[in-house]
Amino acid sequence: MWDTFIITPFINALLFIYMTVGQNFGVAIILFTILIRLVTHPLTVQQIKGSTAMQSMQKDPRYQELQKKYKDNREKMAQEQTKLMKEMGVNPLGACLPTLIQFLLIIGLYQTVTRALATAPLDLVDLTKHIYPSLSQATTLIPLNSHFLWMDLAQPERWYPFGLSFGIPVLAIIVVVTTYLQSKLMTPPANPGDQAASMSKAMNLYMPFLMGYLAFTLASGLSLYFVTSNIVGIIQYAALGKIDLRSLIPARKTLAEDRPKISRGKK
C-alpha cells in the first residue's frame, strides 16, 4: 500500500521531471521537492494555525490557572485542559496531524530518491517494477545520470579544493546550517517553564547534527533534498509571516525572557 500510493507515484513524478529537465537528476530532485512542498502547503498552513491556536491557549490566564491549580493532579489537569480546548475551539490534532502527514511524505521522498538512484542490481530491478507503462520511455534513461555540479548524487559528497588530500563535506555543512536556521526561525519565543518549548529547544540543537550526520554519510542526492526542503520551508513560513527573527539573536531573546521578571519586580 505504501509503495502503491506513495513510492510508485513519487518515483514516476521524479522520472517525469528528470526527462523534462534534460536528464539532470539534481535539478529533478530540487524541482520535485519544491513541488511536494507546494502540494502540501495547505497542510503547512493548517499546522501553523493549529500551533498558533495552541500557543494562544497556553497564554490564556485560564490555562495558566489550571496548571497552578492541578499541578499535583495530572489526570485532573488533563481533563480540565481538554474541556478548555473545547471551549476555545482548539483542536489538539490541529498541528499534529498535518505534521504527521508531512513527516510521512518526507520519508516517502527520502525513499523515492534512494530508490531512483538504484546503484546496485537489486535496486535497479526494483526500480523497473515501479515505472508506469505510460512512462515506459523512462526505461531508456535508467540508470539515472547521478552527476550534478561537482557531486555524484549516489555517493556522499566531498569537495577537494586546491588539491587537498581530504574532502570538505560542503553539502553536509549546508544541511546543518539550513536545518538549524529553519528550526530556529520557526520556533516562537518560549514561555518560561514551558516544557514543550524546552523540548523544542533541545530538538533544535540536536536535529541539525543528526541531519548533518545523515548528509555526511548517505548519498548526496538526499542531502540535496534536505537542503531544498529546508530552504523552501523557510520561504513558506516567511510568506505566511511566521518567521521569528528574534529567535536568531540570543541577546534580544534574553531581554524578551527577562521582561516578565522586571515587571514582577515592580509589583
Partner: protein, 361 residues
C-alpha cells in the same frame, strides 16, 4: 530537564531508525553468482564465497573464513585452467584463490568500484568488468595487461572471441575491442542501458537485450544494427542461442523464442505461472539450455522447465527469490537463492528438491 532530554533522545532515535530503515543499508545489493567446477559448486552470495559439494550439499569451505562486514561477493567466480578461483568483490578487488589450500595467490586492487559481473577466464587472461566503467585485462599473475574505459558502469561480463571482445555498458553502447590491445574497434548506441552479455552466432551476429525493452541484433564486424524487436519488459541478461533461435525472458515475466534471422517469434511469447497460478514474475537470469529442454528461473520463487516448442514441462516453487541462472551438474540442477534462508538448492531432473544449503532445520 531529564524528561525533556529523554523525549528528545527518543525522537532522534525514531528518526534515525526510520532513516536507516529507508536506506536499505542491510540490503545485499545483488544476487548470488554460481559456478561449478568438478563436483564443487562455488556460490558468491554475500560476505563469503561458499564451496559446496554438489553431490550432498555439504560445505567444503568458505572464503573468507569469517565474514567481513566490509566485503561482499556476488559475481560468479571464474575458474582458471589450473583450477584457481577468480573472485571479484564489491570491495573493488579481484582475488585469485587456490581452493585446495585456501591461500590467496594474488590480489588485483586497481578497480575503483564494485565487481558486479562474473570475471571471464581464458587460457592466458582474465577479463574483469568493473562498475568504475573499466574493463581490466589481467594476466595469470594478477598483472594488468590493458584496460578499456567506457562511458558508464560495466555490470555485464564480456563476450570474448579469438580476436575481439564485446561488452555492453550502462552508457547505452555495445563496444567491440581488439583482444590484444584493448583498442576500441567500434561502438554502437543501442538506445538504453545494457546489463547482459551478448550472444554471438557462428554467422558473426551479436544479440543483446536492453533495459529499453528491445532485443537487438548487431553485426559483429561493423556494429551495424541488423534488426530490433520490442519486448514487453526490460531485458536484463543476454539471450541463450540454440539452432538459430534466441531464448530469453524479460522483467515483465515473459519468455520469448525469436528467430536469429529477423527477430520473428518462433512461438508466441508466454507468461509462465507458479503452481498456485500466480504469475512467476520477472525473469532476470538467462536460461540454462539442455539437450531437450531449457530451464528458466523467475523472481517469484519459480523454476520452470520448458520444451523448445514452448511447452511447460514442470515448474517448481522454492522459498526464495530467483535471479541466478541455474547450473546443471551430473543428474541435478543447482539453483542459487536470493532473500532466502538457503543459498543453494539441488533439484532432480523433475524439479524435486534433493538438498539445500545451508540445510533446513
Amino acid at each position: 530537564m531529564k524528561t525533556t532530554f529523554l523525549l528528545s533522545a527518543l525522537s532522534i532515535l525514531l528518526i534515525s531508525l526510520l532513516m536507516s530503515g529507508c536506506t536499505g543499508a542491510a540490503a545485499p545489493g545483488s544476487w548470488p553468482g554460481l559456478t561449478v567446477a568438478g563436483d564443487t559448486a562455488y556460490v558468491a552470495g554475500g560476505p563469503q564465497v561458499h564451496a559446496v559439494n554438489a553431490g550432498n550439499g555439504n560445505e567444503s569451505f568458505a572464503f573468507p573464513t569469517e565474514p567481513d562486514a566490509k566485503k561482499s561477493y556476488f559475481a560468479a567466480p571464474g575458474i582458471t585452467p589450473d583450477g584457481n578461483l577468480i573472485i571479484g568483490g564489491f570491495d573493488h578487488t579481484v582475488i585469485s584463490l587456490d581452493p585446495a589450500t585456501r591461500a590467496v595467490n594474488w590480489t588485483f586492487s586497481q578497480p575503483n568500484d564494485r565487481i558486479i559481473a562474473a570475471p571471464v577466464v581464458t587460457e592466458e587472461r582474465i577479463y574483469v568488468a568493473s562498475a568504475d566503467h573499466t574493463l581490466y585485462t589481467i594476466d595469470g599473475n594478477g598483472g594488468l595487461i590493458w584496460s578499456f574505459t567506457a562511458g558508464d558502469d560495466l555490470w555485464a561480463s564480456p563476450t570474448v572471441t579469438d580476436d575481439q571482445i564485446y561488452i555492453g555498458s550502462m552508457d547505452h553502447h555495445l563496444y567491440a575491442l581488439d583482444r590484444e590491445s584493448g583498442r576500441e574497434l567500434w561502438k554502437a548506441d543501442l538506445g538504453a542501458a545494457i546489463v547482459g552479455t551478448p550472444a554471438l552466432s557462428d554467422a558473426g551476429t551479436l544479440y543483446i537485450g536492453t533495459l529499453g525493452k528491445e532485443m537487438i541484433a548487431v553485426e559483429s564486424a561493423s556494429g551495424r544494427v541488423l534488426w530490433r524487436v520490442p519486448t514487453q519488459g526490460s531485458i536484463w541478461s543476454g539471450p541463450a542461442l540454440r539452432e538459430e533461435v534466441l531464448y530469453f525472458g524479460d522483467l515483465s515475466g515473459t519468455i520469448y523464442a525469436l528467430s536469429t534471422a529477423n527477430g520473428a517469434a518462433v512461438w508466441q511469447p508466454i507468461k509462465p505461472t507458479r503452481s498456485d497460478d500466480r504469475l512467476a514474475g520477472p525473469i532476470v537470469a538467462s536460461p540454462l539450455l539442455q539437450e531437450d529442454r531449457m530451464v528458466f528461473v523467475a523472481e517469484a520463487s519459480t523454476v520452470i522447465a520448458l520444451s523448445y516448442q514452448g511447452a511447460i514441462l514442470w515448474n517448481q516453487t522454492i522459498n526464495g527469490t530467483l535471479y541466478t541462472t541455474p547450473v546443471m551438474t551430473g543428474d541435478r540442477y543447482l539453483v542459487a537463492l536470493t532473500k532466502a534462508d538457503q543459498l543453494l538448492v539441488a533439484l532432480d531432473l523433475n524439479g524435486k528438491p534433493i538438498w539445500a544449503y545451508p540445510p533446513t532445520e
